[in-house]
Structure formats: C-alpha cells, structure tokens
C-alpha cells in the first residue's frame, strides 16, 4: 500500500445541514501512532468531522479510508468494532458499576456462561497499568475523579484493541495534575502505535502532546502541519482567519467611533475573581459610557467571567465593586436589581423561552416592576413592548407571536430589549452578533454604540476581532481562565490582541513574524 503509514484518510467530506454547509470538502489524514490535534473555533466543523468518522452522522459526500479499507460506519458501535473509540468530555460509562466492569463491559471473560470476576478484574488491572494507573478496580467508577474516569474510558478503548482513540475536549474539566496523568497515558498509547485525535481549546496542551495539527474554520480545512513548524500566534491567526500584519482597514463593523464616547465614573470593578475550576484569576473594570471588549479563545473563560459577574455562578475568592461599593450577587436577580443585564451567548439554551410570545420574552426580567400585587399591568406592558419593537426594528407579526418563530437576529433584538427596558447601568453582552445575518449584525452594533453614548457601561464578549478593534474603548484579553492583558484605545490592534490571546510575552514573536 502506498500510504500504509496513514491510518485514517478522510477525503472531500461534505456535510450539509438545512441552511448551513457544516463541512465543505474537508480532508483529514492521521498517521499511525501519532497524536493529531484538531482545532478551530465554534462552528468550524470539528465535531461534525468526528461524528462523521464515528458514524454518528452520515456524510453527504466524500470517502473515509481507515486502515487501508474504505469504510462507511453507520453507528458508533460499528466504528468501535473496527477499532475507533471515542472518549467524550461527558464520560459515557456507568458510574455505579465498578471500574473493571466498565472497562470490560460487553466482552467480559466468562466461565461456564458466568462472568469470571477474578479474570475480569485482573484484565482490567493489566489494561490500566499499561497506561500508568494503579487503582482498586473493584470500586464503583463514581468513587473516582473525572481524570480516572477518563483513564477508564481509555483502558476500555485499549481493551477493544482500538487503533484510534478520538478525544473530544478530554481536559476541559481536569486540573493540571490530572491533565498530566492523562497525557502520560496518551504517550503510552502512542508508544503502542495507537493514533489519537485530540480536540482541545487549550493551546499549551497542543504543543505539549500533539505531533501534527489540522486547523479548521467555517467547515473547511485551513492547514495540516507538524506541530513543531507552527507558532502559537500563527495558529491563532489561522483559527480566526486573520492574517498577521494585515493592515487594519476599519469600517468592517457599524460601531460608532469609540473615541467620541463620554467616559463616566467607574461602574464595575472586579478584582482577582476565582471560580474553580472555570476561572483562575480575573480582574477588569468597566466605566459608564464605554464599551470594554473581552477577548479570548474558546475556553479562555470569557462566558464564565460574564456569568460570575452576573451572579449566575459562585465566586470563591476575589471581590466585586459596583460604583465603589462592595457587592455580592447570589443570583442573577441580585445583579439585575443592581442594574446589570446579561445577554447570554447561547441564545437558544440561555436566552429565549421558545414557547412564550415576543411580549412575554421581552418583559420577563422587567415583570417585578410591571406588576401590582402580582397582577401584570397590561397597558403599561403593551406600551413598553411596542416602544421597543419599533425602536429596535424587531420584525414580528405581532407582540403575541412566539419568539421561536422569529429569525436569529430578531430573537437577539428581543433579548437586547429585555435588558434595555430595564434601563440598565451595565450590560454584559456575550457574542451579541453571533449567528445572525449581516444586516441585523450592523443594526445590533449600532444599538450597542447608542447604549454607550447614553452612558451605559458595556462589557462585550466577542470572537470577532473587528468588533474588538472597531467597537471597544478598551480590550481585556483572557487566556487559560485568566485576564492576561489590557489594551487602551490607542493600543488596540488586531495583532496585539491575537498575540495576547495566543500567549503572553509575545511582543518579540510578533515582530519576528512581521519581519
């Protein structure tokens, strides 16, 4: 065979969902015994690619060659039988059964038709030792931490004589030491000539454990290369689709000029917030009338920061001040009452209540101020709803229309209106323009600018680098669950932000690349 060093070859894979091309002639080649990274931002197509490989999705076009044989898995079980195991972030094992039973499930050693428990345990122990773990395999799986549970899943993969193990964000809930244990077992897998496809959002991990890398963006393969021949900065710029040293043209967004804004008093001050394991050390502040951009790659901790400030998740250490006074929010309601609004990133999961009308969604947070002894003041509600439908240009047949029937952009406007009608002092917007069409995008950017002009402090979380550079008065960059760098208005540049997103002391490297 010509390409016998290749274990997996996915060629021209295309997958179309209604209205979206999830994969556009994507190619992925994985060699025998290598750890291959698959990276890309949200919606790049990584998961779709993996799901097609393992038979969870059926491809629309393209071929998959695994171990010199064209394959067409219809279910993940068939893929497993051929030697492809998948380990998801959420462990799909049985927590109440013992470690050994989990490893040997469906191929337990039997004697006279009964499970041979001694052999079962011995075999499980042997498999775990192989990846460097020595634990009591007779205890229930749930007695162990997530790292051990993942090792169990890996041992299970080995027990199936898997030739390939796919790991989808295995480290997202592990602490540093657990990650090290996981990497040790990955190295042992590699030594045994098993290939690993490794998906993560933590850049440092890629460089530590991976041999080669495939970068995806918008359903396409951008590049496949050796890990050693790419810098973190190049990697980030390729994931985001922004060339290094590209001259900033401006005008890609509809924000008003940040310099024209009147900056007021210090509204929010967050000092050294910690919320383990999601956030390690976060400090930032927002003034009245300014837009602060919060930048960072997926997994850097942006959404977690927003949630912690809004009282949706608890803070372990650190302090928050609102207009200088120390505050503590135990629930979103506390934050709302203090004049803060939060538009969540995932509109469908955290934003809309799909079976309620535009009206009811719009006034959901305002209700306590719209009622007298618990009864909704309909006249006043109608006035407010009509005002905001007109003001934001929400396209809906009537206020009674169910919100789920609206387009994404109009849903987003309703959610913005949910907070605007509260007259907030501080608004946290998490990816306010994601997943909506260009026209609506511009409108929303204008609305955000107007808010700042009216004196509202805006903390804007966005993955679109133009929104950061053109819309923000300041940009705070997060990396690996920490705020790492802050850019004032005159310092804001795409390269600088990307460098900070990739790694800290990279000013030199940027110059290197620019040369």
């Amino acid at each position: 065979m010509a390409n016998s060093d290749l274990l997996l070859e996915m060629k021209d894979i295309t997958k179309i969902f209604p209205g979206v091309v999830a994969l556009d002639r994507a190619n992925l080649e994985v060699k025998r015994g290598e750890v291959h990274a698959l990276v890309g931002e949200n919606g790049a197509g990584k998961s779709t690619m993996i799901k097609i490989l393992t038979g969870a999705y059926i491809r629309d076009a393209g071929t998959v060659i695994f171990d010199n044989e064209e394959v067409n898995f219809e279910t993940p079980l068939l893929a497993q039988a051929k030697g492809i195991s998948t380990i998801y972030q959420e462990i799909n094992l049985v927590p109440l059964r013992s470690v050994a039973e989990n490893i040997m499930m469906e191929h337990e050693p039997t004697r006279y038709g009964l499970i041979n428990r001694r052999k079962l345990n011995a075999e499980a122990r042997r498999l775990l030792t192989q990846i460097g773990i020595e634990i009591d395999v007779t205890k229930p799986l749930m007695d162990y931490n997530i790292a051990i549970q993942q090792m169990t899943a890996i041992a299970r993969a080995i027990s199936f004589k898997s030739k390939m193990v796919v790991m989808d964000e295995p480290t997202s809930s592990l602490d540093d030491q657990e990650v090290e244990t996981l990497f040790e077992s990955i190295r042992r897998l590699r030594a045994d000539d098993v290939s690993v496809i490794f998906i993560t959002h933590r850049l440092d991990e890629l460089f530590e454990i991976c041999d080669r890398i495939t970068i995806m963006r918008d359903g396409k393969i951008i590049e496949t290369t050796d890990m050693g021949s790419i810098s973190k900065l190049e990697l980030v710029s390729k994931m985001l689709g922004k060339d290094l040293g590209e001259i900033q043209k401006g005008g890609a967004t509809s924000f008003s000029a940040p310099a024209s804004r009147q900056i007021g008093e210090n509204l929010l001050e967050a000092n050294n917030l910690e919320s383990s394991p999601d956030l390690v050390d976060v400090s930032l502040n927002v003034h009245a009338g300014e837009i602060v951009g919060l930048a960072g790659l997926l997994g850097a901790g942006r959404t977690e920061t927003a949630r912690v400030i809004f009282g949706a998740d608890p803070i372990q250490t650190g302090e928050m001040r609102l207009k200088g006074e120390r505050v503590r929010f135990d629930s979103p309601r506390d934050a709302i009452d203090a004049g803060i609004g939060y538009c969540a990133e995932d509109r469908k999961a955290d934003g809309i209540v799909p079976l309620l009308s535009v009206r009811d969604n719009l006034t959901l947070a305002l209700l306590p101020m719209l009622t007298r002894s618990g009864i909704i003041k309909r006249e006043q509600q109608k006035e407010i709803v009509e005002k905001f439908i007109a003001m934001l240009g929400i396209k809906t047949s009537s206020a009674d229309q169910l919100i789920r029937e609206l387009s994404g952009g109009n849903q987003q406007k309703v959610l913005l209106a949910r907070w605007l009608c509260m007259n907030p002092e501080l608004l946290i917007l998490d990816e306010p323009t994601r997943g909506i069409d260009i026209g609506a995008k511009g409108e929303i950017q204008k609305i955000i600018s107007n808010l700042a002009d009216e004196g509202v402090g805006v903390l804007m979380l966005t993955s679109e680098i133009e929104e950061l550079t053109e819309g923000s008065n300041r940009v705070v960059v997060m990396r690996d669950r920490r705020t790492v760098e802050e850019f004032d208005l005159e310092e804001i540049s795409q390269d600088g932000i990307m460098t900070a997103m990739a790694h800290g002391e990279a000013a030199e490297q940027l110059q290197e690349v620019a040369q």
């Binding site: 979103p332 969540a344 955290d350 209540v353 309620l356 009811d360 959901l364 209700l367 009622t371 909704i376």
Partner: protein
C-alpha cells in the same frame, strides 16, 4: 437532495400538528356537546317511554328531574378530579409531575374528622372546630406540597421520585393517624362542602368552578403565571432573566398539595366517612390524564387550565355515557385509554 426532502417533510408534519392542535380545542368542545346532547336525548327517551310516568302525566317534570340528577352526578364525580388536575397542571407546566396528590388527599381527609370529633369541638364549640377542620388539613396538605417542592429544588430530586416518596409515605401517615380505622361521622355543617345544594347545585361544583377560574386568571394575568411557563419552557434562561426559579417550583407543589387537600375534604364529606385506604386512590393518574388530554404538554412550558377542565369533563362524560348505555366498565377504561392516546399523540406531533 435528501436534505431538502427531509426538511419539507418536517415542515409538513409540524403544520399538521398545529392544525390538529386547533382542531383539538374545538374538537373537545364539540365532542362534549355531542355527548351532552346524546345523553339529554337518551334520558328523554327513557323518561317518555316509562309507562308509570306517562300515565301520571308528569313527563316534563320527571325529565327535568332526571336531567338535573344526571348533571349533578357528573359534576360531583368530576369536581375532585378537576380540583386536583388544576394543581397538577401548574406542576406539569414547570416540567414536573406530582404523584403525591392522592396520598395528600388521604391525609387531609383523615385530619378533618380527627379535629371535629376531638377535644377541640368539646372545648371551643362545633363551629370553630368545623372551621379548623377545613383550614388545618388544607394547610397541612400545603406543607406536604412544600416538602415535595424542597426535595425538588434543594435536594435536586427528580419530581417523579420526590413525589413518589410522599405518594408512598403519605398514605402510610394517613393510616397511622387513625390506626388504620375508618372514621364514620355525621356533621352536616362540615359536610356542606359536598352535600350542600345552594341553588340546587352541589357546593363542590362551586368550589371546582372557583378553583378553575382563579387558576385561569393566575396563569393568564399574573407574573407568577408567567414565571411558571418560563421555568417550564427554559429554566436556564428564566434564571438568567431573574426569575426566582426555586421559589416558583416550590410554589407549584404547594398549590398542588393544598388543592389535593381540598379535594380530600370533599371526598370524606361526601362519604360521611374517612377511609385512608381509598381516599384519592389513583386520582393522580386521572389528573395527569385530564391535563394531557387538555393540551398541557408533559414537557412543560405551556399550560391550559381550561383545557384541563375540558379534558376532565370529556373523560368523565365518555365514561358516564358508555356506562349508562350498558357498556361494561372494563371497556369504558379501554376507551378512556384511547382518548389519552389520541390526545398525547397530537401533543407529540406538535412539539416534534
């Protein structure tokens, strides 16, 4: 293209579901009216062909009397189910379920005679004891609901498990209250809640209507009603919009418990006896069926109080009609199952 074909099919299906949904509300009313009409006709035939009545010449009088009694029988039988089903609708609208309503009915039913037959009546007089015998059991029933709610919100138990605990334990408590003995009594003042006939209509029917109307108003016009739907429709989003999710969830179980308490009192008042073994037995299933038939999806986020009322009436009328034309009870059960099946089928069509 396969994908476009698939979407086309999906769109067609959801239209089908929505069409069906509209048809269902009107359909329920039409079927109800047909059943009522059929029964009026049937009663008239029975009366007008009865020789004794015809000989006495009082056909009209006898017909009115027969109609009145048929109406009262149906409303009386359906009242407790409707009252419990209204509470169930609140719970189901938040995405929960309440299996404990029957057991809570039994507890409330045991408590009332204990109060008006006990030392309180002797010391403070019967009138006071009767008021306590109504108020205290309803409060205790609400406390059991509170216990359900706290298990669901604080201990994060699945609603079906949390309320199953009270389902099992509650009936035990009800039996322990009287050492398992039945309590027989004759207390016209207390029993007025079931046996009274203001304007010729049983008191419990008034109670039923009041419960339905208040619940309908609460769902429609109060922030609490909105919160119930928001919690059931998208709990995470509701929390981020400042909805006090835990309080709302707890409250619906308290409401369901208290309404079950009222129903439990009505049952013992009708029977002149309290039976911890039978009071409210299996009523949770009738209540869930009425809610489902009435168009409230078991996944939460939507609620139709009037639908639940119509659903309970429909199930009752079908049962009554079948039994009165001589269809065996067992067969009537099968027909009821069929109604629920159709109703839930329509529901899944719509949400799919």
């Amino acid at each position: 293209m396969t994908t476009s074909e698939q979407t086309a099919v999906k769109v067609e299906r959801s239209n089908f579901g929505e069409r069906f949904q509209k048809v269902r509300t009107y359909g329920m009313v039409i079927v109800l009216l047909l059943l009522v009409g059929f029964n009026i006709f049937r009663i008239y035939r029975v009366v007008s062909t009865n020789e004794t009545i015809v000989e006495n010449g009082n056909v009209t009088e006898a017909f009115v009397q027969a109609l009145n009694s048929a109406l009262n029988v149906n409303l009386t039988q359906v009242a407790t189910i409707v009252i419990v089903a209204v509470g169930m609708t609140f719970v189901i609208a938040t995405g929960g379920i309440d299996l404990s309503v029957g057991a809570i009915m039994a507890i409330a039913g045991q408590l009332a005679p204990l109060i008006f037959m006990g030392p309180i009546a002797e010391r403070f007089g019967m009138a006071f004891a009767n008021v306590l015998a109504i108020v205290v059991p309803i409060i205790i029933a609400g406390i059991f609901g509170l216990f359900n709610g706290l298990m669901v919100t604080k201990l994060k138990f699945q609603p079906i498990i949390a309320t199953l605990i009270v389902f099992i334990g509650g009936r035990g408590i009800a039996q322990v209250l009287t050492n398992g003995y039945l309590q027989f009594f004759k207390n016209p003042d207390f029993q007025y809640i079931a046996l009274g006939r203001p304007l010729g209509i049983p008191t419990q029917v008034y109670i039923m209507f009041i419960v339905v109307l208040v619940a309908w108003y609460v769902m429609r016009s109060t922030s609490f009603g909105q919160y119930v739907l928001a919690v059931g429709g998208n709990e995470k989003a509701a929390r981020l919009a400042g909805v006090p999710v835990d309080k709302v969830k707890t409250a619906v179980y308290v409401i369901s418990g208290a309404l079950a308490g009222i129903a439990g009192l009505i049952v013992v008042a009708i029977n002149s006896a309290s039976d911890a073994n039978l009071n409210g037995m299996l009523i949770e299933l009738d209540a869930i069926a009425a809610t489902a038939v009435g168009g409230t999806p078991l996944s939460g986020g939507q609620a139709s109080i009037l639908g639940t009322f119509l659903g309970a009436l429909l199930i009752q009328m079908v049962k009554f009609t079948l039994l009165s034309i001589g269809v065996p009870y067992e067969f009537a059960l099968v027909v009821n199952a069929g109604i629920i099946l159709i109703a839930v089928y329509v529901q899944t069509k719509r949400t799919a």
